[in-house]
């Protein structure tokens, strides 16, 4: 399973791997243009494949006010 962390929403979920980033975002219900997907110090593009057992973070880039 891939561990998907969304720190701003204080939420985590797991999805079966391997999966492309865009499919992980769809599973998490997140619009691709509103987030960065990171793995440690790396930034992942939406077509990148994430392997089973790996962890990614979804960071929202939208600020309001």
């Amino acid at each position: 399973m891939i561990l998907v962390r969304m720190p701003q929403r204080k939420k985590e979920l797991t999805v079966p791997g391997p999966k492309r980033v865009m499919d992980i975002l769809a599973a998490a219900g997140v619009r691709p243009t509103t987030v960065l997907v990171t793995q440690g110090t790396r930034l992942l593009t939406k077509d990148q494949r994430v392997e089973d057992g790996e962890t990614v973070d979804i960071i929202s880039v939208v600020s309001g006010g």
């Binding site: 960065l36 593009t45 077509d47 990148q48 929202s60 939208v62 600020s63």
Partner: protein
Amino acid sequence: MKCKRCRKAAAAVDLPSHHSAFCPGCFFVFFRRQVEEGIRKFSLLEPHDRVLVCVSGGKDSLVLWDILMELGYETEGLYIDLGIDGYSDRSAEKVAAFAAARGKEPIVVDLRREGVPIPEAAKRSRKEECSVCGTVKRYFFNRVAASRGFTVVATGHNLDDESARLLGNVLHWHGDHLERQHPLLPGEGDGLVRKVKPLWRVSEMETAAYGFLKGIDYLTEECPMSEDATSLVYKEALSLLEEKMPGTRSRFYMGFLTKKGTFLNFLTSAGVDGAPLSPAEHSGKCAVCGAPTYAETCGFCRLKEKVGRGTVR
């Protein structure tokens, strides 16, 4: 996916709106060029300017300060402590750490000391937090800049912010707001300092990617007061359009800037708002504090007066 510029390294940032994807090194070049072009297009900054950069601890303002320093501008950061328990402390820490790492110390205005911490000021004046925050920030941006000899105030508003604001202004036909919506608001001799938005060409995602890849430790937490902000609804709507039709956001805002004159002439002739859309000119100085204002008393002093009279419900 390979970088479309160097065609060697793996891409780290894909930008459908530009039909492109970049490795970190090439993305820095792309981002820097976008900001430089944004500054050049409307002559936002001159080499001799002393720039007051308004920083909140979030990605946009810290990236703005970082890139303006990199571009060689003389800058200082202004941090306004909004008086929001916890959140303001964490954002102040981010700003202080960012500045210290670059040999700087931010100028700090503490709204608790000024008698207008945002949560309490909003309750007492019975206004929305974001509206109160905007009034207070604009006041101190100008006051600090004018009193300390800065020639320009720079804020981190990006393409997403400006296009969302444009959508809101168009949906409600705010003719007067449309008139003043621009990356450059000229200053006037008697205490109104020029205001600029050098990040107007770059998206929120691009700014966040730049900050992340540059290792800028910004606050990812959202302001707790902005949860119900209408700007978020407009951003959500534009994100949907952007996803289906990449580049829409940019065409919307840049098209407005290009065709603004024609568009506003049309609104005026059509009588929208029922009043001519001549640019608002500030008539003089606030009777209470002496700040430049369009009315007899400036927005900040009117707010303070309401806060003083109000009670927390």
